[in-house]
Structure formats: structure tokens, C-alpha cells
Symmetry: C2
Subunit: 450 residues, 2 copies
Amino acid sequence: MSTDRLVVIGGDAAGLSAAAQARRLRGPEDLEIVVLEQGPEISYSACGIPYWIGDLVSDRDRLLARTAGQFEADGIDIRIQTRAEEIDLEAGRVRTSTGEQLGYDNLVVATGGRPARPPIPGLDAEGVYGVHRLADGADIRAAIAAGAERAIVLGGGYIGLEMAEVLRGRGLSVTVVLADPLPMAQLDDDMGERVCKAMGDMGIEVQSEQPVRAIETDADGVVRAVRTDAGSYETDVVVMGLGMGPETALAREAGLQLGVTGGIDVAHTQRSRSHPEVFAAGDCVQTYHRITGEAIHIALGTHANKQGRVAGSVIGGRPARFSGVLGTAVTKVGELEVGRTGLCTTQAEQAGFDHRSDLIEATTRAGYYPGAEPIAIKLISERGSGLLLGAQVVGGPGSAKRIDVLATAIWAGMTAEDLAGSDLSYAPPFSPTYDPVVVAARVASRIEQG
Amino acid sequence: MSTDRLVVIGGDAAGLSAAAQARRLRGPEDLEIVVLEQGPEISYSACGIPYWIGDLVSDRDRLLARTAGQFEADGIDIRIQTRAEEIDLEAGRVRTSTGEQLGYDNLVVATGGRPARPPIPGLDAEGVYGVHRLADGADIRAAIAAGAERAIVLGGGYIGLEMAEVLRGRGLSVTVVLADPLPMAQLDDDMGERVCKAMGDMGIEVQSEQPVRAIETDADGVVRAVRTDAGSYETDVVVMGLGMGPETALAREAGLQLGVTGGIDVAHTQRSRSHPEVFAAGDCVQTYHRITGEAIHIALGTHANKQGRVAGSVIGGRPARFSGVLGTAVTKVGELEVGRTGLCTTQAEQAGFDHRSDLIEATTRAGYYPGAEPIAIKLISERGSGLLLGAQVVGGPGSAKRIDVLATAIWAGMTAEDLAGSDLSYAPPFSPTYDPVVVAARVASRIEQG
């Protein structure tokens, strides 16, 4: 019996999940598994980097989820500091930076994401940082240790907000510069405004609708200010939270088919559309929205893990499929928690739904119980059928994770009336008699007047 | 046009929800609404009484959700200190304690629950308290103020646990005496043991499998000790948390049909089976389990509110139905949070399901994030189909409300595999990359070995 070889490019969430799942289903005699990782570490939590910068995580090594040794014990050959230089799809082999030509029977491309870098003059100046690699975290920590007092964060998405929060927490004066009118573009305006206000309350300055024109530097090439049409904002450091695109250079050069979003085009099995022996998973792929069916690119560790696992299952001989995304996400700014799932109003419009939206305000616990905090929930639903399309939650501690109830209801195809009738838990330390989710569902299921 | 009259017996969650909803749909010219409440107050939160005793709620009046004035402004005639003495179903009228004969076109019976009182000698002694009425709360507060140092709580359900927690919090030495082997009989033993351990850790003594034989009193008839087969436990106060049955004396005497659980037998519209013009709602009715379809009695404000609303809707001319219960519940003991929904293992067995159970342990947040606490989730599912039947959660802060995700999934008829694929939120302050709910669902959807 001959041994097949699986080569995995990328030693992070997607690649390692694929490798681990394939191994569970096929032993070392049946399948050799080689993982190529260009960096010095495998399996680190990029999502944890802001909290390491913020000193909430004491030790960088705590961001390392799994060690190479754990995989090697399972007979998975982990090669760090080894870049895949070229994929020869016809010959079925990968050329590595160590000069090897590594043949494969199956390939998993898990090259991850690439931080967006708009063509702004000066973006490569000293003092301008990303938040993608552990080295970025070390650089920003070093800048703070060296006395940085002012920071400008570019972008108001999750990473931008988290960075603003932790830098403020470390005592820097922080300005967030946005091209959009409000932070969290995936929220409706009325919810985004609550986030914006909370940022102001914790002393974070927000400069909105100001695309950055240039990063200004001093004579030594060190960042000095960020310039927009409205003015020039002096700063010691600039942190980029401008979103993440798919890293597909290697795949594209090899001739793998990309999708309309720029991510690698894969079927629900994570099998590439163009080459059936090649799979792809994680931040480098294009996936699909569960409600609209439309192609979408989302960089998130959860999806990367799941997609990798699907690829590993299929390679291991067990049918599996990735069931799409709702774009569920949570974050916090100080004490304000934010969650969203499904379609926001703009997305519902774009998708052609005849929709309504309902916003309610309640408290996280029984009003009389200590620690009861305001919570606002907005539901987007289809007019007539009542089908839930999307939800947004903004409120005090205990608010954000309620988005999971709504994500589950949307996932299951429930209507607002279904959810209003459902049996959610109640006790004074945890919710009012009607949980805010039920209150929102009830309002959304009311017959509209006029 | 003649005005109909709706009489509501009981001015709490169910009765007032019925009155309010009927009023929304039918104006005062069309429908006169009279609410009879035997006590001095309407609409108080019985669930909040333990927290008032525990000084977590400063002011008793904060437990009053709505005032009579709010209802009267809507043209609802609220009569406190007025007891319904007799219902004449044939004549369609209620005799009140003020001597009035009040005719009705529709009647809503919302007489609430009656705390269980087993035939234990001495149970009516001075120093033995319930936790049902605001007056009970006042009595227990007075006993503590008068210097009570030792308390015995009878029963390990939600009320028992909450009372043990708050009495311990006020500095009393607390012993919980159980007939069952473990507290929280609605949990499987392996989960109940975690609760029992947490009680011990906070200094609450648990004496299990000891049915109470007698309450011992001193010469003045004041409680002195609780006696079981294992011994006699001295105490200053005894608090009864022995569960709640339906209060149906009035209904039964009138001839309304009761169900097998002893609650008033109603259709899904909350219409009584025996008399179509009479509705019943809240702790006095029998309802049904959504999974098994079986008759069940559950005393909980959430259901009372919903059932009252259904009755009010139907009386108001708009179709509505109560969709059953899963028995979802949450509570806490100190920092330990507990949630449950659907069927526990014993219930799944009794219902004849070929079931499996899967228990996972994880953390409430990313392992490296401050405040990450252990959480255990147990899922009960149907073997083969994977249909989710029940779930239990025990863990640190942030654990309990995760039961709502599971309750929603069960409500929607999802399988473990559906839930494992769903798009739940992730960010380090809120969950590991895979939320514990997803981890549990994934394990439960694994094909069983052998």
C-alpha cells in the first residue's frame, strides 16, 4: 500500500485544522502530512494581539494555541521558516524556500489574509504598524515602552476599535481616523452612533469622513502626523486597522481560480473550483453568505478553523461541507459591548428584501438587580413572512453574547414570531422577565399599523 | 352597542398581561375590564424576593413592576384587597369578598401558584418562612435584623439555592436540607455535583437524602431545629423552597376541569377545556412540553406573562397560541452560573428517546484573556438523527446565558451537526475561537465509536 502525501501551505487556524482532521481520519501509514509555515511560529491568535499590546495578556507565548510538538506527536511534519515559493498544479508539487520540490496528492492552500494597505504616501514610514503578526505586537509594545504618547488608529472596524481601546487603556491619547461617517460600518447608523458616543466617553477622539491623504514624516523618515482634507493630526505612532484581504499571490500565480471577491474560489467542500485535488480554507478563500447565497470574503479565525476542518474531513474520506456565514461578530469598546449578525439594513436593501427594522431598549438584568445595564437590540426582518434577516446588539456588560441567540435563530430560519414564543431563560441576575431578545422579537412580530 | 365585561382573577404576571393585551385590542367602549387582586399589591416580582432579602435590592418597592395607576389610565379597573370567593360558571359571574356579584362575558383565572407544604409536623411554627409573597420577604428580613445567625433551607431547587446564597451573603451560617441526593434535580448528577461543590466552597452545608421528619420548636412554639433521620440540625430560621404547585381551589370548586398535573386544563389558546368563555394562565395552569408534548406544570413568570398575553389576544379577537415550554432556567450560586433547557437524561429516558449525552469542558473567554473561567456543557441528543433534546451549562460568570443559544436551537429543531456549523460570535473577551456551545455541538455530532 502506497502512502499519499498531503501538503498544507500555512501553519495557522485553517491549515492546522485541515492537517489535524485529515490525521484523525487517516493514519501516518496511509497519509503523510507536511505543513509549510513561512513564519517562526505556528498557530498563534492574531485576534489576541491587541490585548497583548494592552497588557491584558501578560505573555506573548499565551497567544500560541498549539505547539509544533503537539502536531509532530501525531505524525504531522511541521516545517517553520519554510516558505512555499511556487505551486506547480500540473506536476502536483510545491517548491519550497529550502529548495525542495515537494510532491503532493492533495494540497491545502491556507495562506491567510493580507492587511489592506491603501496607496497612501508614507504608509511604510517608521512608526506605522499593522496588527497582523506577533512581530507587529512586539513593535507597538516597544514603541509604547519608548515613550509614545499619541496614537492614531486608521479604520473603525473591529481591529481599529480594539486597538483604540487598548492604547487608550495604556494611557496614550488616541484618535481614530475614519473614511466612513461612523465606526463599525457593519452596523446601522443608529447603532453605530452609540458606539461612537461610547468611544468619546472614554476619551477616544473620532475623526470621521476623512480619508487619509498622507502620512507625514520627519527628516529621519519617522511618522510625525496623519494628513486628511480636514487637517493634519500629529502623532507618535500610527496603527492600521483597515481590514484584511485574501492573501492569494501564490495561488494566483499557480493558476488557481479566484472568485469575484478576490479570494480563492472553492465549493462548499473547500475544494478549489479549478483543481479538485487542491483545497483552500481560511482567510485566503471566498465563502458565501447563508442568507443571500452571495460570495463574500470574511477573515475570521472561527471560519478558518471550520473550513480547514471541512477540507481535512473530505481529504480524510468523510463527507463534509461548510454551511456559509452570517457575518456574526462581537467586540467591545470599554464597557460597551457590540454584536451583529446577518444582514444590516443596507445589506438587506442591496439583497432586495422587502424588510422592516425594529429597535428596542431594555436592560441586561432585571431592572432592580445590581448591574442592570441598558441594552439596545435592532432586528431586521422580512416584511410579511417575518423571517429574521439580521440583528444588532449594543449595550453594557452581558449584551454582546446575546447576538448568538439571534444568530442561531437566523441560522435556523426562524421568524420573529417563532423567536418571540421561544423559551429563553429568566432569573433576575440574568435578564428581565422577558429577555431583551424576546422583547425585540415580539416588537418585530407586531402587525404593522397603517 | 353593548359593552362586554372581562373579569380577571389575579393581579400579577398572567392576569395583568391578559388585561393589558385585551385592552390593546379592544377599547373601553367595547370591553370593560375588572381585575380582582386579593393582596395589597399588584404586579410584584416574586423572583426578586431573595435578592431583596439579600440586600442586593435596596428597596422593596423596586420589586413592583407596574402600578395600579398605569392600568387605570388605560381604563382597567384594578381592585386590590378584593378576593374572588366563588365562580358561578353557569351564571357567568364571580362573587367577591366585597359582596358583589360580578357578571362576565369572559373570565381569566390567574390565581397563581401555591408553595408546596408537605405534611411535616411543626411546619407552621414561628420562624418558618416561605418565599412567595412580599410579606415573606419582610418577615425574613425582620428575623435577620433581630439577630438570626443560623438558617436552614429546605429544598435545593432554584429558590432554595438563591435563598442559601443570599442568606450566606448576609452572614448567616446556612444548611440546605434535601430529600434528593443532589441540589437541582433537573440537572444530571454529574452537573448537579458541580453545583453541590460550589455550595460547599462558599460555606453552605448540604445535607442530602434526608427527608425532613419534623420541625422542632421551643416551649413558645418558635422553631429550634430541623429533624431528619440522620439527626437534628439547630437553627434560628427555616426557609421553605420546596417548589410551587398550581393554586386551583377556586377553579376546582367552580367545576373547571383540571389536568393530570393538577393545573387547570387549557388548550394552546389558554382557553379552558371545559368552559370556552373561561381562560386561565400562569402558575395555576397545566401547560405542555414542546419536545414530548406531555402535560407539565411549571411556575415561572416568563410563561405566565406569555400565557396571559395569549389569553388577552384571543379575548381581544386576535388568534394566538402558547407554543409550549422547554423548561429553560438559569440561576447562580455565588460565582457559579447554572442553566438548563429541554430534557435531562432521566427525562429523555422516560420519554423513550434513544439518546446519547456528551459533556465538554472549555473556558468562557479565550484562555489567555483575563476573566476566562471554566465552563462545562452537557448535551442530550437523539442517537442517529442528532436531534438536540436538552442541554445543561455550569460554569463561571458568562456561562448561564449560553443556555439561550441551546434553547433556541432546540426550539427550532436543530441537530447537533446544524449547531456545530452555525455562525456564533467570537472575540477573545467573549469566547474561545470556537464558542463552548459549538465545541459541545461538535462533540455531540461525532459519529460514535463501536
